[in-house]
Symmetry: C2
Subunit: 142 residues, 2 copies
């Protein structure tokens, strides 16, 4: 009793292919959902949300889709300590601030013109392929 309809993009405006990745119904829905509420959900949170639109989706598929999207550079995987991975459609180079009180995660941009090698004492010859900056703290009412 699974839908046999072809990929539908009309409502969501998500194309049939992104960065060489075929956007199946499931990938589309997961991507749409990440874009629509950008609150850095875990795979399991994505799974629960996706079930509204795709009641038959499985958690394995959510993991598969998230991995495919990450591999193709369409979304980013974010890790905090040893917690479940979270997923983020913001492709700008940025870090994350994790509010320990509320659990809310804020994207943190670099100030314009900042160059990593001005800030960090990198080993000579280091070619950076990926950066992960995560901050944990409190947000004080100011």
């Amino acid at each position: 009793m699974v839908s046999h309809s072809p990929i539908q993009k009309s409502a969501s405006e998500i194309p049939e292919e992104i960065a060489g990745l075929r956007m199946t119904r499931q990938r589309q829905e997961i991507y749409r959902l990440l874009i629509e509420h950008r609150d850095h959900p875990t795979a399991n949170e994505v799974f629960m949300r996706a079930k509204d639109q795709l009641p038959n989706i499985s958690l394995a598929t959510v993991y598969n889709c998230l991995e495919a999207l990450v591999q193709h550079g369409i979304i980013r995987q974010v890790n905090f300590e040893r917690e479940s991975s979270r997923y983020c459609p913001n492709l700008r180079e940025h870090g994350h601030f994790h509010d320990a009180m509320t659990g809310v995660i804020h994207d943190v941009d670099f100030k314009p013109g900042v160059n990593l090698s001005d800030v960090l004492d990198l080993p000579p010859g280091a070619v950076i392929e990926d950066i992960e900056i995560t901050l944990r703290g409190k947000l004080i009412a100011s």
Copy 2:
């Protein structure tokens, strides 16, 4: 058949208490080992090394000790993506560069005088309690 001898520190020069944490034989050995080769071992690597001196030590104890040391700010726990946690006795505020070719992890210091808020666009009112900066890349012979 477990040793009943009291804490011995003579050889290692590690005091009986650090930062309010009682340095038992196991904690002492684990700490010594981290200081002696600073290669960011995993809990399991620490376990294997610790067995040379403490053949009866258990993996659970290694985890307990590492956690106690981390909780008391004596060592730091370092995470790369979803890999096993690694442990590091370097308490300076620093990041890590993970050489994807060799797997070697290099400590990366901040350049002197750098202030995080000059570099990052932090949310207003953010009070940072912990920073984790991890870089992944290659080391090119220069």
